[in-house]
């Protein structure tokens, strides 16, 4: 076991492939899945990589079974993951709720496509942002990470396993078709670190693995710390549910990961998560006339973008705009404090999203004294940098 098929160093990988490499690096040794566009590369690569690194792979009869199987495998002591898209994510909600209430650390990758129903199998969207948060019935808090580059797909997959183990909870990697299918040069790490961070205090369920002599009872009904049912007792059930939710709610700031780009002197912030961060960054570069990567930035893909150059068709002068980006890497739990702190000196907040404008509502509620403008876009294309900048001009009242 744990031979590790991953070589260190620079590689060019697709987002979905990077996710597989990262999972193996993070110690994932069980994958159950069902093919669905646009996440299929993950199951294909897992079918080959899992057995070679001593892990187990199974193609299940549907996404319901896949999500149940990873929960079963985790109690057997193997870190486990599944990956899906669109309708598959809907089918997995049942087991996600079960994983939440039984406090099972598993990772679910959702490479988003357009919906509802069969929707747009081959095109991108961010329409599942709320399904990641509220998809299953009942009250639970979810951790979701949204990558915008292939490197982030790799890094966030590793972090997803860390967070899952630390908080004993399912974690959703909320990727999308753009980041799942694009290829970029990234750095991957060597071998395997079986990340098992200390779990936090405040876990309300049994957490020993099976076959360790603990006689664990994993119970889907609300339960006490020994797994015995308390669903018929209102007081104890209420206590349990608050404890279950508070383990995430009280750690929002610790989980939150927000990055800024040129925000220091900006009066306008583009707040974005997932692949929409890419045109948002381009918009900033366009407005500020940045032509190379001499700028000190935490974002690694700047170089690639500028090979293409600035589109010639752009005539509008944006040079007077003082605009920056806030990248929300952890859309759930909603990083309210961190976002409030970062937008302190900003007057206008633009929220471009590849959906009908959902996450914008959270931001508007968190920033009552700012002008928050939604930029919904449906259909499968990313926003263009020009669209974003034109919206800013319009909102600032300087566009005739």
């Amino acid at each position: 076991m744990d031979k590790g098929s991953t070589k260190p160093g620079y590689v060019v990988l697709q987002g979905n492939e990077a996710c597989v490499k990262a999972a193996i690096y993070a110690g994932c040794r069980f994958f159950a899945g069902y093919p669905i566009t646009p996440s299929t590369e993950i199951i294909e690569m897992m079918a080959e990589e899992m057995p070679i690194c001593g892990g187990a792979f199974i193609q299940m009869e549907d996404e319901i079974a896949s999500s149940c199987a990873i929960v079963g495998a985790r109690w057997g002591g193997r870190k486990a993951m599944t990956a899906t898209s669109g309708p598959g994510f809907t089918l997995m909600q049942e087991a996600i709720g079960f994983a939440a209430v039984t406090e099972t650390p598993v990772v679910i990758v959702n490479v988003q496509r357009g919906g509802p129903a069969t929707g747009q199998p081959t095109l991108s969207s961010q329409q599942d942002i709320y399904q990641a948060r509220y998809g299953s019935h009942g009250d639970y808090e979810m951790i979701a990470l949204a990558p915008s580059t292939v490197q982030e797909m790799y890094d966030f997959t590793v972090r997803a396993f860390e967070l899952a183990e630390k908080y004993r909870t399912p974690v959703v990697l909320l990727a999308d078709e753009v980041v799942g299918h694009m290829r970029e040069k990234i750095i991957i790490k060597k071998g395997t670190v079986d990340v098992r961070p200390e779990k936090i205090a405040g876990i309300a369920s049994p957490s020993a693995d099976f076959f360790t002599g603990e006689n664990v009872l994993v119970e889907g009904q609300l339960h006490d710390e020994r797994g015995r049912r308390i669903g018929h007792l209102p007081d104890k059930s209420g206590e349990f549910l608050m404890k279950l939710n508070n383990k995430i709610r009280k750690n929002v700031d610790a989980i939150a990961d927000l990055k800024t780009y040129f925000l220091e002197d900006s009066d306008t912030a583009i707040v974005a998560y997932g692949s929409v961060e890419r045109p948002a960054m381009d918009a900033v570069r366009l407005a500020r006339g940045i032509k190379d990567d001499m700028v000190n930035t935490t974002v690694k893909f700047v170089k690639n973008v500028f090979k293409k150059g600035v589109p010639a068709a752009i005539h509008t002068d944006y040079s007077h705009l003082k605009v920056g980006v806030i990248k929300i890497n952890t859309p759930w739990p909603f990083p309210k404090n961190e976002l409030t702190r970062l937008t302190r000196d900003v007057k206008l907040v633009i929220v471009p999203e590849m959906n009908i404008g959902k996450y914008y509502k959270e931001i508007e509620r968190a920033l009552p004294d700012k002008k928050v403008v939604s930029m919904p876009k449906c259909g499968g294309n990313l926003h263009t940098p020009k669209e974003i900048l034109d919206t800013i001009l319009k909102e600032m009242g300087v566009n005739e």
């Binding site: 159950a32 057995p51 099976f210």
Partner: protein, 270 residues
């Protein structure tokens, strides 16, 4: 309480939520005896779905997973993949296994993965108050078939045999000794084992389904209406075939032929 059962039953979780006359206790004891006689208490885990039968393992001092309606087999497959060296027993019911869980059942059977499924068939949805299940006989009056059920019945044993299960047995709560032996054989068998237990639900099914309303009479009916099948014999008309219906020791188990074994061979070859 019997000393043996004190080793296996969480006395602080008692009383069970089973109704008077329920068959679940007989099945629970048969399972305890089978596990104890095999001496595998540390090497066995139980998985169950939702329904009355799903509560059977929840009172046992074993590693137990009480999961979602219909999904027990899917959870068990993941657990088995994580620990192929251990034995997994799944407790499920006729509604849990044949209706909502039917897809997982047939796919686990075709894989011939090493699980032991104990399907408690009481012909009714008991926990929700007496609605028809895929096993409810035609014409039965239930809460959701007030004019008599018109649905065709699924025979769980026939279904999994068609799908390639390698150990299949059917017993009733009136045959506790044979049941215990079947559970033992099922656990020992390296492959998909399916044991159907005809059980009684005097409270929710009773006279309208079995034609009898008290538990002892229903069990007596089970004795009279069943026929212990031997290979090559034909069950008399109107009698239910019970006994060991299939025991194929040569069928290859799924995990043993799974990809990782192939991959190891591939790596050695390279």
């Amino acid at each position: 309480m019997n000393k043996l059962y004190e080793q296996y039953i969480k006395t602080d979780s008692l009383p069970t939520l089973f109704c008077p006359g329920c068959g679940n206790g007989i099945i629970q004891v048969a399972a305890i005896n089978a596990i104890h006689n095999l001496g595998i208490k540390q090497d066995v885990a139980c998985v169950s779905g939702i329904g009355c039968s799903a509560w059977i393992p929840c009172y046992l001092k074993l590693d137990v997973m009480h999961t979602l309606h219909g999904r027990a087999i899917a959870f068990a497959e993941g657990l088995k993949f994580a620990r192929p060296d251990k034995k997994i027993v799944v407790f499920t019911g006729d509604g849990d296994c044949l209706a909502i869980g039917g897809n997982h059942l047939i796919h686990a059977a075709r894989r011939n993965i090493d699980l032991t499924i104990i399907m408690v068939n009481n012909y009714i949805y008991g926990m929700t108050g007496g609605q028809k299940s895929p096993a409810t006989p035609k014409g039965s009056l239930t809460k959701t078939s007030p004019f008599g059920s018109v649905d065709e019945v699924i025979d769980g044993c026939d279904l999994v045999m068609t799908m390639g299960a390698s150990y299949v047995a059917r017993w009733t709560t009136a045959h506790p000794v044979q049941l215990e032996k079947a559970i033992r054989d099922g656990i020992l068998h390296n492959g998909f084992s399916f044991i159907e237990v005809l059980s009684q639900c005097p409270v929710q099914a009773g006279k309208n389904v079995y034609g009898e309303k008290d538990a002892a009479s229903i069990m007596r009916t089970y004795k009279n209406n069943t026929y212990i099948w031997k290979d090559g014999t034909e069950a008399p008309k109107g009698k239910i075939r019970i006994g060991t219906l299939r025991h194929n020791k040569n069928a290859k188990e799924y995990i043993e032929k799974a990809d990782w074994v192939m991959a190891e061979r591939e790596l050695e070859r390279r």
